[in-house]
Symmetry: C2
Subunit: 333 residues, 2 copies
């Protein structure tokens, strides 16, 4: 029988049994409300915070281990895009009254696996109950050599624009997860599994962080759709961009889906949850950036370049015609 | 006419209009997902995180400025109890769909006032929508001279136990806020206003932080009731304590209420939301601690002492009889 949380585990028991084993020395075994970190000498502290809400950012019946991993990984993706090294994280967890203790145990298990594999221990946090959906706010703490943070607003005219991995898989994977889209009937099970995995279990591109901080002028993680995120990056950099649509890297699975339903291309490049890095790299460092990415085992693709101007970025198809997109950016609002 | 959030302000507009003006240089105008902090030389970074949920930690129809202030202040209280200096904070805000934009504007106004008066700017954060109640998770970042963090688990047998301010006002203030308790009819309006203010607008005891880090072996902020929090502190310190109930400092307003309804005394010392500091100070440093508190303008009161042993702390009344309390600690679960 599934036990409800309120009948079963108190806040102190949840902390002691589920989360204290995830704590690094900075978390002092979660015996204190606070955590303490000796900053790595010569480094700045980098902080980022992303919250995930059930029904908005994930399905309430997703595997609790995947929910936990995604909550941590979307933050690791932000840190990687800044060229920073993750040090640890704080977790603010708001638990619905009817959540089972099994769920919390599985959530902590998934979180612990990722905390170990990314060498990113739990520093501390807070657990509360809520009458609403499960809400997970993670604050990721990282470090970067002093002055080396790569800001979103650092792009400069003349830079090349690179993305890691492939774009749009998670946006299509969301369709797989929901299970209702007509295009699913036309795509094989292997491709569907690949897209679903990309939606449920994003892979933060930490392997590229040193290359980003060594070579990039500007960088951000692509989480709200490539088209909209690029527009944001250009706007805060006071620049614009030209992008060649045919150069945007697609997975075999996404290509298969788009071949069947060409309208999915727009979804792929405007949908969210990619968690790839968009980096703006000066022309004279491009060869070095490509070499370092290769060494790091990270696929990167040049999709366009940064230009002087404040108009919205322009996207060109294979015939050189400009394309516009109705939904520039994925917004949870 | 009140506009609903979803009809009115996008996430980007909320960030740009309401929260960017609160950002310190570390937040880079909130033009990036991440914040960057140059650690103060010779200092450790202290981190704490507390989440507040509407209907659990505050009333949904409380003044939005007060809700914001309380969310920040409960975290400042944690930092003060560690003997640390606040540097800034990250804010993860989950906004219900039906929340008015007026609410968000007022919330940001209250938060900004406190951010300025406590010299604790916004570093960054995240805004999402939720189908549930307003949820505010704040991560407070502070600093303490290297190795000087005062842990909860540092109490030692022989220490004196001190609390700041007065205990129980907020627990009684919660009754005032709810407006239904029979004892309210017996207490004057001035006392009720005082107690309500203590519930709605806690005052983090930052003025004592230097004395805490100079003199205390162990320290925590009292947020879940003095009796239960003391028990926690003794448990993690592998010690026990004797407390003289008559020495627990009460405000005139709380004394007036308790004189009318003596059963309120138990509520006062077991109820939550005090946000006072409980410090464990070695006997030979007690005079110095008292002098420093006086200089800092902070009322402190010795309520007992720490002893060897692992049993629960003992509380003695004026006749020397031991008293037990049914609700040792306030739990939101």
């Amino acid at each position: 029988m599934t036990q409800h949380l309120s009948q079963h585990l108190s806040e102190d028991e949840i902390i002691a049994q589920c989360f204290a084993p995830l704590a690094g020395p900075e978390g002092m075994g979660l015996r204190d409300d606070a955590a303490v970190l000796v900053p790595p000498p010569g480094h700045d502290i980098v902080m980022t915070q992303d919250a995930l809400v059930a029904g908005v950012h994930f399905f309430p019946d997703d595997d609790p281990r995947d929910i936990a991993r995604k909550a941590l990984r979307v933050n690791l993706s932000d840190i990687a895009a800044k060229g920073a090294d993750p040090l640890g994280f704080l977790l603010a967890l708001s638990l619905p009254d009817n959540l089972s203790s099994d769920f919390v145990v599985a959530f902590a298990k998934g979180l612990g696996e990722d905390a170990r594999s990314f060498a990113c221990p739990l520093f501390g946090g807070d657990t509360t109950r809520t009458s609403g959906p499960l809400t997970i706010a993670i604050t990721l703490i990282g470090a970067v050599p002093h002055g080396n943070l790569v800001a979103r607003f650092g792009a400069r005219a003349g830079d090349r624009l690179y993305v890691t991995g492939t774009i749009g898989d998670a946006a299509l994977g969301l369709d797989v997860r929901a299970g209702k889209a007509a295009w699913l009937r036309k795509v094989d099970a292997f491709a569907q599994d690949f897209l679903l995995d990309r939606y449920l279990r994003p892979q933060p591109c930490l392997a590229l962080r040193r290359a980003v901080r060594a070579e990039a002028n500007g960088s951000m993680d692509v989480s709200d759709g490539l088209v909209g995120d690029l527009a944001k990056m250009m706007r805060v950099s006071n620049t614009t961009a030209h992008v060649t649509l045919a150069d945007i890297p697609l997975s075999d699975a996404a290509s298969q889906a788009i071949a069947q339903s060409p309208d999915l291309f727009e979804r792929a490049i405007t949908g969210g949850d990619d968690y790839e890095i968009l980096a703006s790299v000066p022309d004279h460092r491009a060869a070095m950036f490509e070499a370092e990415a290769k060494t790091a085992g990270v696929r990167i693709t040049c999709i366009g370049h940064v230009l002087t101007g404040t108009e919205a970025p322009r996207f060109f198809d294979a015939e050189g015609n400009m394309r516009e997109f109705a939904h520039g950016s994925f917004s949870h609002f």
